[in-house]
């Protein structure tokens, strides 16, 4: 759709529109501050404030003794011990002592390449006390060195140039990513995304709800141009402001490292690294601009737009904040996550690790998600009514966003409570509160007959076979996703523990446990999400949107962030199966099959546990083969069922009034 519009665009008009948008934005002080001044001065200001803070903390009176280890015999070392106050000295000094925190620093006597004695100071850059101890030693050694040099010069006939250089060096034994002084990789992703969002948000607010509020959008739309051209020019303007903010922010980063290099004689940031960071920012800028246009464009006023932007900004800052942790890996899974992938890529590139495969995955995935978001924006905003919010769509995108964010918060906040409950309650309560009650309320609200819910037409032989094969495919995909996300979101043991508890209960054998764990939840969940919700949404929305909404709600109701991705995929697959097969029973069959296979093959005490079948299909190391096989199986309905068949309303809706 985007390509189609770009072919229809008149380049002259687009240029004229873009020139006007840029000129208009460039005269807005808010945009200038958010896109130029703030990003450019953020890093230098942080450097100044942090150095002031460090200086103030160094000047604070010491209330403790530094523990410093000394090895070797050197006159300078004796003098150092004599002049250093506020330290207790140990006569041993290994790297392990510093790493374990027993000692704050170690002074070792070594020899340089010419065999002359010199001192080597080992410290842990990830601990503030160790850094302070190192700085204390450095100050005192510098003082002693200057004193010796002065004495030597005072003697006659000694040339200052012939004197040996500084006879001590420092070695930071901490891992690079954990160093407290090494703030850039930790904070850069978050700050970069923050300035990008704030600058682009000002532009998006001004160009969509701002213009709508001022009445200039209507003036524009009575000119001889296509609404999609106006939308395109505005999107490019928002994107350009984002790019300017990124360039200003990277300039600020260069300025900070340059100032630091002048003060501490360290190497500044290289132009190559800045260029790489800029190139990595391009898909991120596109993604942020697309999201902002999609959300903000539905607001009728700037104030309403700001209400939507607040949760969006908070949600956008969470992934880069998590990416600041050195424990989150940058692998093929995390590279696929929006915002987290780019933030992790920045961190790795700054550390000097340029792994092509995850970076390529990150770029491809961010671009794909951007195109998806843009597709929705173009679809709804490429008409006069859509741009002016006269089509009744005002606020729809923002409301949906707020709903999704609060649902995720609900998952986060409720999951600990559920984790501490007994197994039967943990299974039953979500079914009652998130399946049973909503189903009854939904039926009442929609005027549906609850009795007729179960009276769906029975499945044919083909439907049963496809249901079973899709269930097998889903089980394969779920375990593959579990493996892919094991570094970031390892699957908890709760599911297995539930199964074991139910098995251990005397009256319950494995068939009853399987019924409670696999068949009953599958049937109830499918009744709510596919039979009721999907069918209802298909009457009101296009199939892709209905599918996405039901899959998202299906994933949220599982109340576990660890099972979010597998359940989203399952929701999409099961919804697609119902739409394509036009038979409701295919989805409970597939769902129950998938649940049963996973439980039976992974939990001790079930028939398939450790059997050949489980070993080959679920526990083997051939991840790619299993992934491919699973994808083929879940894609089977696409080939088996004809495309022209439309979904039939599941239950008759009573006429209003």
């Amino acid at each position: 759709m985007i390509a189609m519009f770009s072919r229809q665009w008149n380049r002259h008009r687009l240029r004229v529109l873009l020139r006007k948008e840029v000129k208009d934005l460039a005269r807005d002080r808010k945009v200038i501050v958010a896109a130029l001044l703030l990003p450019a001065l953020l890093f230098p200001a942080l450097l100044v404030f942090s150095s002031q803070f460090l200086t103030a903390s160094r000047l604070a009176p010491q209330t403790f003794l530094y523990r410093i280890g000394v090895t070797g015999n050197n006159p300078l070392l004796d003098e150092l011990i004599a002049v250093t106050r506020g330290a207790s000295w140990a006569t041993h000094g290994r790297i392990e002592d510093v790493t374990s925190g027993d000692l704050d620093a170690v002074v070792k006597q070594t020899r340089d390449s010419d065999g002359r004695p010199e001192l080597s100071i080992l410290f842990d850059g990830s601990r503030a006390i160790s850094i302070n101890a190192k700085e204390l030693l450095e100050r005192n050694l510098e003082h002693l060195f200057r004193k010796h040099r002065k004495r030597a010069l005072a003697r006659a006939n000694i040339d200052a140039a012939s004197l040996p250089g500084r006879a001590f060096d420092f070695l930071d034994i901490s891992v690079q990513s954990a160093r407290t002084q090494d703030h850039i990789p930790r904070f850069l992703p978050m700050l970069l995304i923050l300035v990008l969002i704030s600058a682009s948000a000002f532009a998006a607010l001004d160009l969509f709800p701002g213009e709508r509020e001022r009445g200039t959008l209507e003036t524009l739309l009575v000119q001889p141009l296509r609404p999609s051209e106006a939308l395109g020019a505005k999107f490019i303007a928002v994107f350009s402001v984002g790019i300017i903010a990124v360039v200003a922010n990277l300039f600020g980063l260069w300025l900070m490292t340059w100032m630091k290099s002048l003060a501490l004689e360290t190497a500044g940031i290289s132009v190559y690294l800045l260029l790489t960071l800029f190139l990595l920012c391009l898909p991120l800028c596109l993604f942020v601009s697309a999201c902002l246009v999609r959300v903000v464009a539905r607001a009728r006023s700037v104030k309403e737009g700001q209400h939507y932007l607040l949760p969006l900004t908070l949600a956008c800052l969470l992934p880069p904040f998590l990416a600041g942790s050195p424990h989150v890996p940058f692998d093929m899974f995390t590279a696929c996550l929006p915002l987290a992938g780019p933030a992790l890529a920045f961190r790795e590139v700054i550390h000097g690790n340029f792994d092509f495969a995850p970076i390529f995955t990150m770029v491809a995935m961010t671009t794909a998600i951007t195109l998806f978001v843009l597709h929705g924006a173009v679809k709804h905003l490429s008409t006069e009514e859509g741009l002016l919010c006269d089509d009744g769509s005002a606020g729809r995108g923002g409301r949906a966003l707020v709903l999704v964010l609060f649902s995720i918060l609900l998952v986060f906040s409720l999951s600990p409570f559920f984790r501490n409950m007994p197994a039967i309650s943990r299974i039953a309560l979500p079914l009652v509160f998130f399946v049973g009650l909503p189903a009854i309320l939904f039926c009442r609200w929609a005027g549906m007959s609850q009795r007729k819910l179960l009276l769906a037409p029975p499945p044919g032989f083909r439907d049963v076979v496809i249901g079973l094969s899709t269930g097998l495919g889903l089980a394969l995909l779920a375990t593959c996703i579990g493996e892919l996300q094991r570094n970031l979101l390892p699957m908890p043991q709760v599911f297995k523990d539930d199964a074991r508890t139910l098995l251990g209960h005397p009256p319950l054998g494995w068939p009853v446990a399987l019924l409670l764990l696999a068949v009953l939840p599958a049937l109830l969940e499918e009744l709510l999400y596919r039979r009721l919700l999907l069918t209802r949404l298909l009457d009101r929305k296009d199939p892709s949107r209905a599918l996405l909404v039901t899959a998202a709600l299906f994933a949220v109701h599982h109340l576990s962030i660890f099972r979010f991705f597998p359940t989203v995929v399952a929701g999409l697959v099961l919804g697609f199966l119902v739409i394509r097969s036009r038979c409701f029973w295919t989805s409970p069959i597939a769902h129950a099959t998938s649940n049963a296979l996973i439980v039976m093959s992974t939990v001790k005490g079930f028939p398939l546990f450790n059997s050949f079948f489980a070993a080959v299909l679920l526990e083997s190391q051939f991840l790619e083969v299993r992934l491919l096989f699973g994808l083929l199986l879940v894609a089977a309905p696409w080939f088996v069922y004809p495309r022209t068949r439309a979904v039939q309303p599941a239950v008759a809706v009573a006429p209003a009034g």
């Binding site: 000129k23 208009d24 009445g215 200039t216 000119q223």
Partner: protein
Amino acid sequence: MIEAAIEGPGATKTERRSLVRAAGLTKVFQPNKNELGVTAVRDVTLTCRENEVFGLLGPNGAGKTTTLRMLSTVLPPTQGTANVAGFSVIRNPEEVRARIGFLSGNTALYPRLTVRETLDFFGSLHGLSGIALEERIDTVLDALDMHDYADRRLEHLSTGMTQKANIGRTLLHDPPVLILDEPTSGLDVLGAGAMIDFIEAMKHGGKCVIFSTHILTEAERLCDEIGILNAGRLHAVGTLEQLRERTGEAYLDAVFRALCREASIEDAARL
């Protein structure tokens, strides 16, 4: 394209070319496809010719603005059709927009641009460029006496000056049809007087002007034909004399009230 030469104001009604023709225009605002919508305009049929001013009168919420927005292609009609300067508002909206000048309370200008930059931008969108555009901008600045503040930003101008700039924007591409939605609202007596003079000048210049207003004296002075819109329906169309004859009232405000009453009774009978 408009080929016929613009005839003088002395030409008879039948000789003048119809530049705006609406037939059965209906607009239903429907927030959701499963919900019943609100019908803002229903079955409006009207014609407006060159050298003519057509006035749309009606109480608040009668559908005047929606009708004019449909004629200016900002809103697509739910039913019916309209032709402006020979082009359909549904099939050729861009061609229609190139031939209209639309001015309403909702059409504002960019406050951070100067008057000259504003005219340059809108002229460029209409395909004007280079010396032709500069000459046209100078002509408009001369005609509206805006040279003194042509290089000042609109955010620093008074309401009257901004309205003049907006008129300049409307006239820049010399459109044959002018659609004006309550053009005097928010203006002081002098500004409103200047606007009335401007509409009169446009009429004598051969333009087809459709405008909506609440102010009956404006309609009395300017309109060749008046349409009374009530609850979305065009209840009566005719010259002022015809409407007076129909209602038996002498003053326009009495005519207007009588026609609105009549329209309400008719609507109630329909329900």
